[in-house]
């Protein structure tokens, strides 16, 4: 028998994040007082009653500073106003058409002129899903992420796409379907606004569950132009300060690393200016 122990292993990321969240929650909770005698009414009636009530302290609000881990984000993403049955239908439908892993959860859902779009995540992938589109109720594709638990800075672009319009007339494949350019991804708890700029046009993204979906809608006859200029995604905090930029040719690309030294980067790969000077990645949810 060898006297050296087995090789070191990483704490599974989901457990790392769960334990971290529990720790930070615990250190913010006041010591739990199980029983507290409560003095009853005193005064004119001259009655003093003693009651015993169990007190369960509620969760304390936690101020999330830029760079801090958003520890109290709900474990399950919530889409306001979405019927649970419909949610299940979307998750199963998108999963079925795209995801080889299963278990995708809906994090963001938008409906605009181009239709309905859902952004889902599995434990390792982003799933972009067109819902009720031409030809099929769910049409999804997935992209594996270098790290789901960590972000390269305050914002991660997990998918950036452009789709030509469906055309018009009898020969059109999807007549009337609008063209679009889209950027989707994840953000840290410090981000309150995301913009997407392409070819001189800028739109605000829809933010939900620490994700964003930004879509620029074009006409049905729009074609992806040759040499489409680089599209840029920007993230701002509550004070309006720019805290993250992705794909801006004027801003050098940076690299980020997890505490274990794993490099986290955007799906959009640009040369990193100084790969030896990575800064700490931001945790996601």
């Amino acid at each position: 028998m060898n006297t050296m122990p087995p090789v070191e292993r990483d704490l599974p990321l989901d457990r790392h994040l769960a334990i971290r969240a529990e720790l930070l929650k615990a250190i913010h909770s006041p010591p739990r007082r199980r029983w507290l005698p409560i003095a009853g009414a005193v005064g004119a009636l001259g009655v003093v009653g003693i009651a015993v009530a169990m007190l369960v302290p509620g969760p304390s609000p936690i101020a999330i500073s830029p760079g801090a881990k958003p520890t109290l984000a709900p474990a399950e993403p919530v889409i306001a106003g979405l019927d649970p049955g419909r949610r299940k239908q979307i998750e199963e439908g998108c999963d079925r058409t795209a995801n080889k892993e299963g278990g995708a959860k809906l994090y963001n859902l938008i409906t605009d002129q181009a239709g309905t779009f859902g952004l889902l995540y599995t434990s390792a992938s982003a799933v972009s899903c067109t819902i009720d589109g031409p030809g099929m109720p769910f049409n999804a594709g997935y992209g594996n992420q270098s790290s789901m638990a960590w972000l390269p800075g305050h914002i991660s672009v997990d998918s950036m796409t452009a789709a030509a319009g469906g055309g018009t007339g009898k020969t059109a494949k999807y007549p009337g379907a609008l063209g679009n350019e889209m950027a989707v991804g994840r953000i840290s708890g410090a981000v309150t606004k995301v913009t997407f700029t392409s070819n001189g046009e800028t739109v605000d993204a829809v933010i939900a569950n620490q994700t964003y979906v930004a879509r620029i809608v074009h006409s049905a006859t729009w074609r992806i132009p040759e040499g489409l200029p680089t599209s840029v995604v920007r993230a701002y905090d509550a004070n309006g300060t720019l805290i993250g930029t992705v794909n801006d040719p004027a801003v050098p690309a940076k690299c980020y690393h997890t505490p274990d030294g794993e490099v986290v980067q955007h799906q959009i790969l640009r040369p990193i200016e100084n790969p030896t000077a990575c800064t700490p990645a931001q945790p996601w949810r």
């Binding site: 028998m1 060898n2 006297t3 050296m4 122990p5 087995p6 070191e8 292993r9 990483d10 704490l11 599974p12 989901d14 457990r15 790392h16 334990i19 971290r20 529990e22 720790l23 930070l24 615990a26 250190i27 913010h28 936690i62 500073s65 760079g67 801090a68 881990k69 520890t71 800075g153 305050h154 300060t241 720019l242 805290i243 993250g244 930029t245 801006d248 801003v251 997890t258 505490p259 274990d260 800064t279 700490p280 945790p283």
Partner: protein
């Protein structure tokens, strides 16, 4: 782009954590969780128990934040010592329960959501065998071995956090190694990590 992310050393982070800065404490956790997790595994031969001790170690660290001043630039040696004490305390509790119930079932292998579940189960078996031998060592030798040989803490760092002379740490590790060599069935050459 206005983003600036600093990378302060542990002493600065600890100082901020002691002032109630949760993000600093979170960063310390991110930085040292893996080392504490593996250290706890080596003391328990159970990945599941290691997770629990990891959490308790950092909770204990938080509770002690006002009374602890880091002597080393790294918090790791101190955290590993806290973890060692946490496991020791758990063992005492476990022993009381064993005496109470007069039996102890071996802990079943806990399925893990991570990849390489089979490898982790195999780790637990190997570590349990090794720990059975290590547990026959005197406690101070056992803990010095785990700290310096298995978890890579230097003799000087261990001396600081254990409050003993560096020479004493060396002596404990040396005795632990030679005793362990005799205890272990040597079907293959013994291997120890390089001294530091």
């Amino acid at each position: 782009m206005t983003e600036r992310v600093h990378d302060p050393d542990d002493r600065a982070l600890w100082s901020r954590a002691a002032s109630g800065d949760e993000s600093a404490f979170g960063t310390l956790f991110d930085r040292h969780a893996k080392a504490v997790y593996n250290h706890c595994f080596r003391l328990t031969a159970s990945w599941a128990a290691a997770e629990e001790h990891l959490q308790n170690t950092f909770l204990m660290a938080w509770r002690k934040r006002d009374s602890v001043v880091l002597e080393n630039a790294s918090a790791r040696p101190w955290l590993l010592t806290v973890a060692t004490n946490e496991v020791r305390s758990w063992r005492r509790t476990l022993a009381r329960r064993v005496r109470l119930f007069e039996k102890l079932q071996p802990e079943p292998a806990v399925p893990d959501h991570a990849d390489h579940v089979a490898d982790r189960v195999d780790d637990q078996r190997r570590m349990a065998d090794l720990l059975a031998a290590v547990n026959k060592l005197p406690r101070n030798e056992r803990e010095a071995l785990a700290l310096c040989v298995w978890s890579g803490v230097t003799y000087a760092e261990a001396a600081t956090v254990l409050g003993i002379a560096e020479g004493s740490v060396r002596a404990r590790v040396s005795k632990a190694k030679s005793r362990l060599t005799r205890l272990v069935a040597t079907t293959q050459p013994l291997t120890f990590a390089e001294d530091r």
